[in-house]
């Protein structure tokens, strides 16, 4: 794979949320408002890129049987760092995200990328993969949050538009509905693209 593929994989073809379908729990929980979604994305990007680089850097030091505990140590170190930093430099955001920051430890996107990618690839590729997946996560969670915030709370970026929003969109069912449709769209698009490439051959 070229470096371009490493980078692009997480954005569309291997989008962590819509295609690999990992990390759904925080995605659904946080995507009620655009501000929260962006804050969460930044925290996830920091942890994902950091742990990808670290896991890749120490992959020669990591015996196969020990890899999961070692991934967890690396990831939780980054998560705790992110949590403290948010508390110190962005207390409002830290308040809004609450328990979901510490819960990044068990976010499948991060351990998934460590296991499936960083453990087997160079530091540089892992960095690109981390950035790509972070962008993929950012895009999806922002789109979901935009849709849910607009229809469920009648606002965009905390500015009101609709007076009588459909409350269901901001509750859990609205999250499932939105993410379901997006998954459908994404898979349709990916399949069509694969079809076109296949036809060309």
């Amino acid at each position: 794979m070229s470096w371009r593929d490493d980078f692009a994989f997480g954005i569309l073809k291997g989008n962590p949320v819509l295609v690999l379908m990992i990390g759904l729990c925080p995605t659904l929980a946080i995507s009620v408002a655009l501000t929260n979604a962006l804050g969460m994305s930044v925290a996830v990007a920091f942890v994902l890129i950091g742990s990808n680089i670290m896991v890749s850097a120490i992959r020669k030091f990591t015996p196969e049987e020990l890899r999961i505990p070692i991934f967890i140590i690396v990831i939780s170190t980054f998560v705790t760092t992110a949590d403290y930093m948010l508390k110190a430099y962005s207390p409002t955001l830290s308040q809004q995200l609450g328990v979901f920051v510490p819960l990044i430890v068990v976010n499948c996107i991060i351990i998934g990328r460590s296991e499936a990618f960083a453990y087997k690839n160079t530091v540089f590729s892992s960095l690109l993969d981390g950035i790509g997946c972070s962008i993929g996560f950012l895009l999806v969670i922002s789109v979901i949050a935009l849709i849910r915030e607009f229809f469920g709370n009648g606002s965009i970026w905390a500015k009101g538009f609709l007076s009588k929003p459909a409350l269901i969109m901001i509750l859990s069912p609205g999250g499932f509905i939105t993410i379901g449709f997006l998954m459908g769209l994404m898979n349709y698009w990916n399949r069509r693209k694969a079809q076109i490439t296949a036809d060309k051959k």
Partner: protein, 179 residues
């Protein structure tokens, strides 16, 4: 092939080494961020108290009796200008922390939600002025939902959260009224 014993020792060594490095890194981050976190926390608390008692410039924690405290507010001339009770009650999702400000006659002047984790769009609306502005001036007897024959309009779809807030306000107020 390494023997099992050697393998175990090797693994223990690797994990210990990694944990030591991770702990050292975290200790450093903790020490670096701690002063700022404490500062932010203090600032947040001060601003919240100030919002409840706008005339006050200084706050002092006072003890009523064991484990029961309230906050006395003073203006710039050290004159007492009102009191604040901080109460916490289990809400629909998690603890709701509330500040209740009262004037010298133990009348509610303002209620503020300090922390909550209620459902966004429903219970979280207890933070809105529309709901909280119903509290000032009310007596303990009046502090009930309209559907419980009181005077407070509940937040639509969030009766439980609304009741919890009312209970917490009552508890805060009773700190000053009961003798």
């Amino acid at each position: 092939m390494k023997s099992l014993g050697k393998k175990i020792v090797d693994y223990i060594f690797r994990l210990t080494l990694l944990c030591a490095i991770a702990s050292a890194a975290l200790a450093w981050v903790y020490l670096e961020t701690k002063p700022r976190i404490e500062l932010e926390e203090k600032r947040r608390l001060f601003l919240a108290r100030k919002e409840v008692l706008p005339q006050a410039e200084k706050f002092e924690e006072k003890i009523i009796k064991e484990k029961e405290t309230y906050i006395q507010g003073y203006d710039e001339n050290d004159k007492p200008v009102g009191k604040i009770a901080e109460t916490r009650k289990r809400g629909y999702a998690a603890l709701i922390k509330i500040l209740v400000g009262v004037d010298d006659y133990n009348k509610i002047t303002k209620v503020k939600i300090l922390d909550e984790m209620e459902t966004p769009g429903l219970g979280a609306k207890i933070k809105e002025e529309k709901f909280l502005n119903q509290f000032p001036g009310k007596t303990i007897e009046e502090l009930k939902l309209k559907k419980d024959k009181g005077t407070i309009d509940a937040v639509t779809g969030a009766t439980i959260s609304s009741r919890v807030v009312i209970e917490a306000v009552k508890e805060g107020l009773s700190k000053f009224t009961k003798k």
